[in-house]
């Protein structure tokens, strides 16, 4: 499955992806509504973090969801079906990439904008691309993001 692949050296920290993501999905801008998020440390490091759609994990979110509301709905991506989510937060805890978030009573995550991710179109220096990723690429981003906490 194709996913949003991070390329750490290229991220400039402009956050266009974050802003465009929440504007596209929610009609407003709020970093806390971004499915993709940029982490920053000091002057030199930025890391884009978004769901890898199982390319580098065991889909822990799907496994732990007690109501099975996280699933592949249309063949593009693993989604949280908002209407069915009971807000237990299990998936947020389980995600090894910290790519699922809670807002109020619902969990939400990247659904690849139905196969045409908005964030990628806004990434001028191609620090995120939409392609088949290899686990190492996601793991590097994960390690870097964790090192920033």
């Amino acid at each position: 499955m194709r996913a949003i692949v991070p390329h750490l050296e290229l991220c400039t920290g402009c956050r266009m992806c974050e802003m465009a993501c929440s504007l596209h999905h929610e009609g407003l801008v709020n970093r806390e509504w971004g499915r993709i998020r940029i982490h920053r440390k000091g002057i030199e490091h930025y890391v884009p973090v978004a769901c890898n759609q199982g390319a580098s994990c065991d889909k822990e979110c799907v496994k732990v969801c007690p109501v099975d509301c996280i699933r592949d709905v249309n063949g593009h991506a693993i989604e949280v079906v908002r209407e069915e989510c009971i807000g237990c937060g299990e998936c947020v805890e389980a995600c090894p990439y910290n790519a699922i978030h809670m807002r109020g009573d619902v969990a939400f995550k990247c659904n690849l904008c139905d196969g045409d991710p908005t964030c990628v179109k806004f990434c001028s220096l191609k620090a995120i691309t939409f392609e088949e990723g290899v686990p190492e690429e996601f793991d590097r981003a994960k390690d870097a993001a964790e090192a920033m906490r």
Binding site: M16, G27, L28, W33, K121
Partner: protein, 608 residues
């Protein structure tokens, strides 16, 4: 209203009072945001002839209207206050997250007045606004300060001053995530209030009027920027990309305190030479898809481990050419010192160059410099003097006042060496060979400045926006030209859009963007009218502070010393040319010969 947070936050550091009030409806249509709000609130809140470093000066933080939305390059925010350097309105724009964060916390504007009894910082977390103790932060550099506060406050965006601001260096700046509100001494205003930092965390939503259309517009402009011919060079070499051109093709790169207009050592400081060797990666301002910012890193030698954002064109001039210094690693170190201490690198470099020039002619001696040999091109002397300025030690204490005041104190004819307008040291354009830009230096509301008008681009290429066939050596038509450019560029500072992308939007492009973000209908001419209103208001502030026509003069060096060599050889701005251009400008503005707006002008602009 959509696009706005709807409230103003006022903090009085003397009493500790915090006040939240609604943004006056009437101000929205007439001033919109950014520099518009800042100018209006400065005019209304700072009493005439207030001490710029006293309690009645008001430090204003004003996000651009588009801050927080993914409008490409629309992430600019500005600080504003009465300037301790020029006595005029000072505003300085930077591309930091501070603006969008303040809006998301629920405020379109922050006003800080008074003076704190002891060092403090302001912490804003949505509704929670606190004045906290900064005793442990006083004396720390800008990076350490921000890191310390983030350790306490988590993921806050931090703007702060270094020791230069604490020591009231008149051109101290404000730093936020390695972006700076550089010009006019706003860091000294913070220092005078004993305000070390402002930390903001906001979690609110920013709602546009029409999200779908805004999305389309943002994507279209982003794609246009990515596909533009300048994209490659802008992102690879940054703002210094035209340094060689400014030297060899135009002969207008101010060198050795404006003794020359071409720098013989320019190859060493040209980013085409150093960027491939030192650039680590791109570093964007908020919302910028074509970042000119890049991380410069040194991995070996005495400066191993150095990391700065830059080196910008302006500092390649001020810390490089102007001081006759062509060693790029030493220049990077000088840049780093300015960033860490919180000094405006343009004015700091200019002050050092001024002192070197005086030393060369024997007006300053080793006795005055504390034994320092202030030779042009000597990096050791330059670095030492920057340090002394930030700490206000010895000669540094004099230079910390800016070249105008320093020359008044030094005397002995040193006034002839002090290059400034209204007390502010100019940026990197030798205006003796760019006449329209000379006028722009003269008319800028904050002193010699390239960004109130951005006239250099039109003047040097002959073509921009509605202007064509402009001759940089001629004074013809420059009054109207500078007036129109200033009005348009002011709109960029209202919206918080980068002037490096001015060619993409122009006034025309903002009509749709404004509608989709706010729902407000503005015609192109109304948008430009907004710029005119704000510029008149800034001018009225300056007049109230006692400015007269004399304050619009160029310094003696630019009027009497022709550029000695290169393409612009022999050019100078004569007294006659200066006066003609100024007359034309005042006329274009609808002001009297003395620069006073008529009653009709003021009421016609809704400024009463």
């Amino acid at each position: 209203m959509n696009g706005f947070a709807g409230r103003i936050l006022k903090i009085d550091l003397t009493t500790g009072a915090v006040e939240k009030s609604p943004l006056p409806e009437a101000f929205i249509r007439t001033y919109l945001g950014g520099t518009g709000f800042a100018a209006r609130f400065l005019y209304d809140n700072v009493p005439p002839n207030a001490d710029a470093l006293g309690p009645s000066n008001v430090l204003i933080l004003a996000p651009g209207l588009l801050n927080g939305f993914p409008v490409p390059t629309g992430g600019k925010v500005l600080f504003c206050a009465k300037s301790p350097l020029t006595g005029t309105i000072a505003e300085s724009v930077m591309g930091a997250r501070l603006g969008s964060e303040l809006k998301r916390a629920g405020y379109d504007l922050l006003l800080v007045s008074g003076v704190s009894g002891s060092p403090c910082y302001i912490y804003i977390d949505d509704e929670d606004v606190e004045i906290k103790d900064a005793g442990g932060l006083w004396g720390k550099d800008t990076r350490a300060t921000a890191e310390d506060i983030r350790r306490t406050e988590g993921d806050a965006v931090v703007a702060c001053i270094g020791i230069a601001g604490e020591n009231l260096v008149r051109y101290a700046n404000i730093d936020c995530e390695d972006r700076q509100s550089g010009r006019g001494g706003l860091g000294a205003v913070m220092g005078s209030k004993r305000l070390k930092a402002i930390a903001v965390k906001g979690t609110g939503n920013l709602r546009p009027h029409d999200a779908d259309k805004l999305m389309d517009l943002c994507l279209r402009y982003t794609e246009r920027m990515i596909e533009s011919t300048a994209f490659n060079d802008d992102t690879k070499y940054g703002t210094g990309e035209f340094l060689e051109w400014m030297n060899s093709e135009k002969g207008t790169f101010p060198t050795r305190n404006w003794r020359e207009g071409v720098f013989d050592d320019r190859e060493k400081i040209d980013p085409y030479h150093w960027a491939p060797l030192y650039t680590k990666r791109n570093n964007a301002c908020l919302a910028c898809p074509k970042p000119c910012g890049r991380i410069f890193g040194i991995d070996e030698g005495k400066y191993a481990g150095l990391r700065i954002d830059g080196i910008e064109y302006e500092l390649l001039y001020s810390l490089g050419g102007l001081c006759g210094m062509g060693d790029i690693e030493e220049l990077a170190r000088a840049n780093e010192l300015c960033d860490l201490h919180g000094l405006d690198g343009i004015s700091a470099g200019a002050a050092v160059a001024f002192a070197m020039d005086l030393f060369q002619d024997g007006i300053l001696t080793r006795e005055d410099t504390g034994g320092l040999d202030l030779e042009f091109g000597d990096p050791e002397a330059e670095l030492k003097l920057i340090e002394m300025i930030a700490r206000r030690e010895g000669l540094g204490d004099v230079l910390a006042e800016g070249v105008k005041r320093a020359s008044e104190r030094i005397g002995k004819g040193s006034e002839d060496y002090a290059v400034h307008v209204k007390g502010m040291e100019p940026p990197a354009y030798d205006v003796r060979g760019i006449k329209g830009m000379a006028l722009a230096f003269m008319t800028s509301s904050r002193g010699a400045c390239h960004l109130r008008s951005c006239a250099y681009a039109l003047e040097l290429t002959g073509k921009f926006w509605k202007f064509e066939g402009v001759d940089r050596f001629s004074t013809k038509g420059k009054g109207v030209e500078i007036k129109e450019l200033e009005d348009m560029m002011t709109v960029y500072d209202v919206l918080g859009v980068c002037k490096f992308s001015r060619g993409f939007f122009l006034a025309e492009g903002f009509v749709d963007i404004l509608r989709t973000v706010t729902g407000l209908e503005f015609s192109e001419s109304e948008i430009l009218g907004l710029g005119e209103r704000i510029n008149n208001l800034k001018h009225m502030f300056n007049l109230r502070e006692g400015l007269t026509r004399d304050d619009f003069r160029l310094p003696k060096r630019l009027l009497t010393l022709p550029i000695p060599e290169g393409v612009s050889k022999g050019h100078v701005v004569t007294e006659e040319e200066m006066n003609k251009m100024l007359d034309d400008y005042f006329e274009a503005r609808g002001w009297s010969k003395e620069g006073l707006p008529t009653e009709e002008k003021i009421s016609g602009l809704d400024l009463v």
